[in-house]
Amino acid sequence: MTSTQAGGRPPLYRDVRVLKWAYQLLVFAIVAAIVAWLLGNFRRNTAASGIPTSFDFLSAPTSFTIPGADFSPNSPVRNAYVVGLLNTLRVSVVGIILATILGTVIGIGRLSSNWVVSRLSAAYVELFRNLPLLVLLTFIFLGVVLQFLPRIEVAWTPLDWLVFSNRGIGVPWYQEVSGWSLLLVLAIGIVGWWLIARWRKSVFEQTGRPSRAVLMGGGFLVVTVAVGWLVFGGSVTLPSVDGRRIAGGIRVDPSFFALVIALVIYTASHIAEIVRGSIQAVPKGQGEAASALALSGFQRMWNVILPQAMRIAIPPLGNQYLNLIKNSSLGAGFAYFDITNVTQITVGNGSPAVPAFFLALLFYVVISLVTSLFVNVANQRFRLVER
């Protein structure tokens, strides 16, 4: 039996187009009803038990301090959130960069024809992939960072340029010069980069010599900024031990240090597997063709296989980046002032828990969505155009 007679429209309740729409609307209505019910329930019950839900606390003074931040106990709570947000971003960005590098190296290592290298890489992956991150972080903080870095009284100061102690690692840092002059120098550098890139591209197109645009343009930017900053009277502050603390330079916090190490080691073990899988997903013929052209092992990997493998790797890598960002909240247990920690402290000092933690959730959702957006854009740009 055929479903419709030729010519006549089926009745509405059997029209597939209508049914499709009706079904979608229905699902939407059900979800909306459930959400509305939950929200209403939440509102009624919080009101009935007097749980505060207003966000007025954001303008109240924090009454606590955050080391390393320009921040007094009278600053409003919202400033503390900003510091926490920046710290979460800081550890995430550093962690993502380092984890990607380490993970790629180990992922390639697993496929190495050198038996020792491939076994060691496999052992690394199997060990760190199977450890709970919190245990790893606790071990690195208490057992490695605090143990192996010397106490402040006997801090190690190589060349008087660096200070190593378990109260922080002091690194030379630039002395601030006026913002506008630096911006001007930066603009010159960027324009210069762009011009150089254009010039090198035309050279490449005409002669076929490698363009090296990034190397030369980037180099120009770095040199310009360095020179400009010296011209405008910038200088470097060197870290030193001042009594029981580190003064001058910039201080890398032991908790930041431990958190970055733990996140990088852990996430790299996952990234390594992604990289390995992606390399293996590149058709074998590509590598063989590269060998046939007498490319060296490095050239084969760097110019032929990795660019194709990375395309495949982008979506799962994005997942790992999201994991790393969310896992950075574990730093709250080790006196790292990320969003989670700031939220906990401000709740302990009188901010209402429900809205305070709601804000923290919101921050994580936004950071994750923005990261996903970047990953999707990258994926769109780099994916193979198939014809």
């Binding site: 039996m1 479903s3 309740y13 059997r14 597939v16 049914l19 009706a22 079904y23 229905l26 209505a29 059900i30 009803a33 459930i34 019910w37 209403g40 329930n41 009624r44 019950n45 009935a48 038990s49 007097g50 749980i51 505060p52 009454s63 606590f64 301090t65 080391p67 106990p73 606790t138 903080f141 208490l142 605090l146 143990q147 106490r151 402040i152 009284e153 378990n166 109260r167 001042d242 009594g243 029981r244 603390r245 032991p254 709250a332 247990g333 080790f334 006196a335 920690n341 906990q344 402290i345 709740v347 302990g348 000092n349 009188g350 209402p352 828990a353 429900v354």
Partner: protein, 370 residues
């Protein structure tokens, strides 16, 4: 054809189901809301809705503590909850239920404690919690009689510092999520000292950092410092608690706002321990007082006494507690002094301001009489 039919049936079914859910939802919401209001407004005329009835019906007290404060509450290897706070949970259970062991000790982190109270996960919070105006107000908690007057102090490695005033340009580690960070920041500002305050949510991490020399000072409530000092890996003598106390930390049990009947019941359970000490009644000798002639004591223990007309009568405070609640508290848990001596004295804590008012302290129970 068949497929379309099936789909239509499915849609119809979903519709019905959705209608059901919506109805159910409404019902649940309404009843939930009514319940809540009932609970919130229970006002002690015993007409249901008070947590007091609910706890007595349940036969168990949900008491919020923290199993990580030596002296106040720790979980032993045998699974017993031992400490000053744990014992006050037992005091409340003995008074309300007549059984000191009918307690469900709920282990709470600093940041969850008020939410646990607000969401009724616990009936009462006895967790080293400082009574402050803000908590009384915004957190919707009602604080009851203070059972320990504490103050924030500073612990350092023995020999490093003699006084807080010497501590300039130092790193201070504190327990996070409490009033300690705020107190430390305020004290540093008041003394004009430069302190870098690092908060650790977990004591294990804090102790680890302190042991490795990452902090110069360890600041917390003096009672807690004394507790941590007593179990310090390098021995208690390696640490010194500086003489300065720079905050008021009245530690008091808390219940949820709006349930006067429950608040009063818990309050009088705690006061009974203080009153018992004042009378000199202990868990050892409480039975000797059963034939006491003192009408105050007979009232307190729920015993019969002669009224003005010579009739035998008992005193019912109408607090909703059993007549013999004080007897149960004292016989099963003990008076304030016994609880203090059992858990806090071994740490080296003195009674100090926590002595009875008659000994110059702050512990004072209103009279138990009509």
């Amino acid at each position: 054809m068949k497929v379309t039919k099936l789909m239509a049936a499915l849609v119809a079914l979903t519709l019905v189901f959705a209608a059901c859910t919506a109805e159910d939802g409404d019902e649940t919401t309404t009843s939930g809301a009514t319940d809540t209001t009932g609970n919130g407004n229970g006002n002690g005329d015993g007409e249901g809705g008070s947590l007091l009835d609910e706890v007595q019906e349940r036969g168990e007290l949900n008491c919020g503590t923290r199993d990580a404060f030596p002296g106040f509450a720790v979980l032993t290897a045998e699974g017993d909850h031992v400490g000053f706070d744990s014992d006050f949970c037992r005091v409340i259970a003995a008074a309300v239920l007549g059984d000191a062991e009918a307690v469900n000790h709920v282990d709470l982190e600093t940041t969850d404690r008020f939410t646990a109270l607000q969401s009724r996960q616990i009936d009462v919070l006895v967790r080293n919690t400082t009574w402050t105006a803000g908590r009384d107000g915004t957190e919707g908690a009602t604080f009851l009689t203070v059972n320990y007057y504490d103050g924030q102090g500073m612990m350092v490695n023995t020999g490093d510092f003699e006084s807080i005033n010497d501590m300039d340009g130092v790193v201070i580690c504190v327990a996070a999520g409490t009033t300690t960070e705020g107190n430390a920041a305020a004290e540093a500002a008041r003394l004009g000292l430069d302190w870098e305050v690092r908060p650790f949510p977990d004591t294990d991490q804090l102790q680890g950092a302190f042991l490795e020399g990452a902090c110069d000072g360890w600041s917390s409530d003096t009672s807690q410092l004394t507790g941590f000092r007593s179990v310090y890996p390098d021995g208690p003598d390696a640490l010194t608690i500086l003489p300065e106390v720079f905050s008021k930390e009245p530690l008091a049990p808390a219940v949820l706002d709006g349930d006067i009947a429950w608040a009063q019941a818990v309050n009088w359970a705690i006061l009974a321990t203080i009153q018992a000490e004042e009378f000199g009644i202990t868990s050892e000798n409480v039975d000797d007082f059963l034939d006491s002639d003192d009408v105050n004591i007979r009232r307190f223990l729920g015993l019969e006494f002669e009224d003005d007309e010579g009739n035998l009568t008992t005193f019912d405070s109408a607090l909703g507690l059993p007549l013999d609640f004080a007897y149960q508290v004292i016989s099963q848990v003990g008076n304030y002094e016994e609880i203090f001596d059992r858990h806090l004295a071994p740490l080296g804590l003195e009674r100090g301001v926590n002595a009875l008012w008659s000994d110059g302290g702050l512990m004072y129970a209103p009279p138990y009489r009509p």
